[in-house]
Amino acid sequence: MAVKVIIPTPLRAYAGKQESVEVQAKTVAEALAALTGTFGELKKHLFSDDGRLRSFVNVYVNDEDIRYLQKDQTQVREGDTISIVPSIAGGSRI
C-alpha cells in the first residue's frame, strides 16, 4: 500500500528536508521501518535503543492515535496518511 508519512518540522533535517515521504507498507511498523531504512538518522529520533517508539513522539494514522488502534501493528490502506507528531515546546533554548 502506498502511504504518505508526514515528517514534522523538527525532524525534516534528518529526512532530506522533505515534509512528507511516500512509502510502501501494510502496517505502521513497516512504514516506519521503510522510512528509517531510507533515512537512517531519523531512527534515533524516533526510536529508543530498545527499538520502541519514543514516548514524546506520537504516530497517527489519518486522525487516530495508533496507541488507541493496534499500535505499530495498525494496518494502513492505500492513500492513508501517517503523521509523526513530536512534542514541541516553543522558543526556549533549553
Binding site: E19, F56, G90, G91, R93
Partner: protein, 398 residues
Amino acid sequence: MATKIGVAAPSPGDEKPRVSLSKEEVMRYSRHLIMPEVGMDGQLKLKQAKVLCIGTGGLGAPLGLYLAAAGVGRIGLVDFDVVDSTNLQRQVLFGTSDVGKPKIQAAADRLRNLNPDIQIDTFEAHLSSENALDIMKDYDIVVDGTDNFPTRYLVNDACVILGKPNVYGSIFRFEGQITIFGYPDGPCYRCLYPEPPPPGLVPSCAEGGVLGVLPGIVGTIQAAETLKLIIGKGEPLVGRLLLFDALAMKFRELKLRKNPDCPVCGTHPTQTKLIDYAEFCGIRGEEAPVAATNVPEITPRDLKTRLDRGDDLYILDVREPHEYQICNLDGHLIPLGELARRVNELDSSREIVAHCRSGKRSAEAVEFLQKAGFRKIWNLKGGILAWSDEVDPSVPKY
C-alpha cells in the same frame, strides 16, 4: 420605570451580585453586543471571567491583547523575563522603548492602555511547584504561553489538580499545535505526551528559530478558544489537536483521547501532587543541560593561538547555510544533518575543529566523527558565540 443598561437577567435563586456594563462599556463592546453569539449575556460573562496567561512573549502577546480587547474582566500575567531586542521580532506587546524593562510591567502597561476598565494582575515570578497552585487558584481558565517542557508539564498537572481548563499552544519554526487540556472528561498533556524528550535529543531552537508571525497566529487561536470557553459558544478544541503549518498554510486536526491510565488525570491517578519538573525533564537545578556527550574541546582563545601560530587546522562548520551568511570563521560548511552523507569530504589525517553556534550541534558532530574513526577532532567550546565574546567582538551574535 427606567431600564438599567446591560444587566444580566437574574435567575431564580441567583445570589451573585449583578454585574452590569456602563454606558462606555456598551459603546466599547458594541460589536460584540450586536452579535447573537455574544450579546449582552456573553459580554457579561467575559466581564466576570478570570483568565491567567502564563508567559507574555510570542504567544502571550496576541493572547493578552485580544483578551483585554474583548473585555475579559480579570487577566493575570505571569512572566519573570526582561524585554530584549531579539524579542521584538515577534513579541508585539512590547516596543523598542521597553527594552530592558521587566516584561510583566511593559505588558501590564500596554494592556491597561488598551482597556483601562479591566483588572490586570501581575506575577513577576518563575512559575514553580511552590507557587503554581497559589497563583492559579483564583482564575477560571489558564492559558499556556510558555516556552519550555518543564513548565508545560507543571501547568498541565496544576490545572488537572485544580480542575481548570488549560488552553495550550506551542510552536516550532513555522508549525504550531493548539488544543485544550484539562477539560472535564477531556485529555491532559500527559495523555498526549507521557514524558518529555531528554534535553539535547530534539533539535533545539538554536537551529530552529521561529517565523515571527507564527506565535501571533497560534496565540490568537488560543485567545479565540478562551473566549469561546467563557461565553460557552462554538466547538472548543477539547479532544482535538489542531496542527498548523504556516508555510503550506494548512490546518490539520488529530483526535486526542483521554488516557484512562494517565498518572495525572486517569481513573486512578498515581500523581496527585506537583513534582520537581526540572528533574522530570532531565535538567538538574539551574545548570544548562549538559551536552549528551563528553567530547574533546578547544576554547576559542586556544584556537586563535594555534591559528596565529600557523598550525594547519581544518575548521568544520556544521551550521545551516543561512547561519553561515550571518557570520562565519571561514570554515568548511557541512550542516549537521548532511554530515553522515558527506563525511568523505573530510580528511581524517588532518586536525579538525568543528563548530556551530553555541557548541551543541558541533559536539554531536564530533561524537559522530569519532565513531567514524576520526582521531584528531575537537569541538569549539561555546561555538561562534564564544568566539565573538572571547576573541573577536566584531563577529555578530545571533
